[in-house]
């Protein structure tokens, strides 16, 4: 079976993004929506990591016994990984804020259904 694992990884990331957007837009329960958003963030992270991956490469950490030119040719691209580290933290903190809002709204409406809570628009 010869399927490029990088390509498959892109497909996995893509399906996570699609599942996440589907859940966030079309599921009624707020917790399910939030789980969907977590999957969306995971999918984007996986996409970025897959982009930096180099098939047959080495980890981008420079150890003392490495040769510079060899390292430069075989290491995977480290910039995307730095971005993902930031994005994971941002995702976790926005998740915490959203969950806090959900707890308060459940207290007020006694419900977790988005159509019930968000029915009255604005006014």
């Amino acid at each position: 079976m010869v399927v490029d694992s990088q390509l498959m990884s892109f497909f996995t990331a893509g399906s996570l993004v699609v599942i996440g957007i589907f859940a966030a837009l079309f599921l009624d329960n707020l917790i399910k929506k939030i789980i969907g958003l977590a999957f969306l963030a995971d999918g984007v992270n996986l996409f970025i990591i897959t982009m930096g991956y180099k098939p047959g490469g080495i980890v981008y950490i420079f150890l003392p016994d490495m040769v510079v030119s060899n390292f430069a040719q075989t290491a995977s691209y480290p910039l995307p990984f730095a971005l993902v580290l930031t994005n994971i933290v941002i995702g976790a903190s926005t998740l915490a804020v959203i969950l806090g809002l959900v707890i308060i709204l459940n207290k007020r409406h006694g419900s977790l259904s988005a159509s019930k809570i968000l029915r009255d628009k604005g006014e």
Binding site: V17, A24, L25, L37, I48, L83, T94, L101, L118
Partner: protein, 499 residues
């Protein structure tokens, strides 16, 4: 070596002050003093800072680093690797100076009115305001598109915090809706950014533009179009253009007046900052300009027509603010140097005028605790001076000479005619008239018609600081209206660089 540390201070100072304010609890005097000092210093810094660019961590391009560049092989010095920006870079020119200054000024007035209208000012609210200001300044300054994404998320969280802190009915529902949408728009914006990163190998906008121009990557490939669409989606969310105009106007109406004044400034400047980035990256594609103009026209028409039917004056203002964003968008979308200058000038004016209006109508909320226009009336007799100021603000928004929006709207119409699109000019004039009508209708019901019997007017006096803020904003409007060169001269360089 032009490592200009004051540029970083513009972002770091509000953040540091915000974090410190968050720690203080129930120490009202300390909070007041610290908040007001920071609010005064924020608009002053951009005036003192010399133009230039700041490299975080001192990571300048190799070409500018004499010590590192010495022993390098020609493999590096001969190629473009030598010019690339390895670290986060902030660029500060006259246009950024004006915009960060105006943002700082609006922050100052918002904080000033907040501290005087609230009996027990909470440090957390000031924390949110400063955090938002810091992140929007960073979005304006940054040349690094991932840095923009990080501050985009922080600004979204700060805005949610300002809504939650207001205590107005149904604010939590609006906050939840806004965060849910933000959590879809944020990752999609990031996806667009990383597609660009994957194609060009860089997150620095200058380097990306260079890569496109030199033809290292095919700028017409569908992947780049996809990334443009995703970045534009995040842009629409952050600035409140359609399809997000409903949620954005709800956000304004669920915040306290000084909060709303600041929130609309955030939207305006985010619109400008990310719009400029989109123009810089994708202006080779004629579709970009058409898309921006199309979205802006829809925003203008939807925002202003939906404002007519509202009965909550904060909602009216929210929709009018969204509609006015369309003017900025048209300026950016025209693509000529004159048009972009006009759009940027309109952005500066709009930020000032809308916060003026929000603070002005905030006095009605302060006196009556209601924002429903059906229940209001006769406020003119309660406080004629404030009523006059609000009327002037409304005239400024509609574009009446000699106030500032007249100059920018005139420039926009001229630019539209110059670019061969006189239809846009006609639409803008018509919508200006509709804006004026909508505003006058709201003004009449709130201020001029006889007072309904059941309306209770509270006894508390409008704080003098609120009136002072409004007069100061009016003076700025008049100055910019009489001498538009002050603003347009500083904006021209940026606009000329974009064409």
């Amino acid at each position: 070596m032009n490592a200009n540390a004051l540029i970083a201070v513009m972002v770091i100072l509000p953040i540091a002050s915000a974090l410190f304010l968050n720690l203080l609890h129930k120490k009202d005097r300390t909070i007041k003093i610290l908040a007001i000092i920071t609010a005064i210093v924020i608009p002053i810094i951009p005036l003192l800072t010399p133009y230039g660019s700041h490299f975080f961590g001192g990571y300048v391009p190799l070409a500018q680093n004499a010590t590192l560049a010495q022993g390098l092989p020609s493999l590096i010095t001969g190629t473009q690797l030598f010019q690339f920006h390895p670290g986060i870079m902030y660029v500060f020119t006259s246009a950024q100076q004006l915009m960060v200054f105006v943002l700082g000024l609006i922050t100052f007035f918002a904080i000033f009115t907040f501290l005087n209208e609230t009996k027990r000012p909470s440090g957390v609210y000031a924390f949110l305001m400063f955090m938002g200001t810091a992140s929007v300044s960073a979005i304006l300054l940054s040349d690094d598109i991932f840095n923009i994404f990080v501050f985009f998320e922080i600004a979204a969280l700060a805005q949610v915090g300002i809504i939650v802190a207001s205590g107005i009915k149904n604010n939590y529902e609006t906050a939840l809706k806004y965060t849910l949408l933000g959590n879809i728009a944020g990752p999609l914006l990031l996806l667009g950014i990383v597609i660009l990163l994957g194609v060009t190998g860089n997150v620095n906008v200058t380097d990306m533009v260079f890569t496109f121009k030199q033809g290292y990557v095919d700028p017409n490939s569908p992947v780049i179009l996809m990334s443009m669409a995703l970045i534009a989606f995040g842009w629409l969310y952050a600035s409140g253009l359609p399809p997000f105009h409903t949620i954005k106007s709800a956000v304004y109406s669920k915040a306290l007046p000084h909060g709303a004044a600041l929130l609309q400034a955030f939207s305006v400047f985010t619109l400008v900052a990310i719009g400029i980035i989109i123009l810089r990256l994708f202006s080779y594609n004629p579709f970009t300009n058409i898309a921006i103009i199309g979205i802006s026209v829809i925003a203008m028409i939807l925002g202003i027509t939906m404002a007519i039917v509202q009965t909550d004056y904060k909602r009216i203002l929210g929709y009018l603010a969204v509609g006015e964003l369309g003017y900025i968008g048209i300026g950016l979308g025209l693509g000529t140097a004159f048009g972009i200058t006009a759009g940027l000038f309109q952005a500066v004016n709009e930020a000032i005028i809308t916060s003026f209006l929000f603070i002005g109508f905030g006095t009605v909320l302060y006196k009556t605790r209601t924002s429903n226009t059906r229940k209001l009336g006769g406020m003119m007799y309660v406080n004629p001076k404030v009523a006059l100021l609000v009327l002037l603000a409304g005239l400024a928004m509609a574009g009446v000479p000699p106030l500032n929006a007249f100059q920018s709207k005139l420039m926009l119409i001229q630019a539209a005619i110059q670019s061969g699109l006189p239809e846009l000019g006609i639409i803008m004039i018509l919508l200006s008239i509709v804006t004026f009508m909508t505003f006058m209708k709201a003004f009449y019901t709130i201020y001029m018609r006889p007072k309904p019997k059941e309306l209770e007017i509270l006894d508390n006096k409008i704080p003098r600081s609120t009136v002072i803020s409004m007069v100061a904003l009016l003076i700025i409007c008049v100055i910019l209206g009489l001498f538009p060169q002050i603003a347009t001269n500083s904006l021209q360089t940026l606009a000329a660089g974009l064409v």
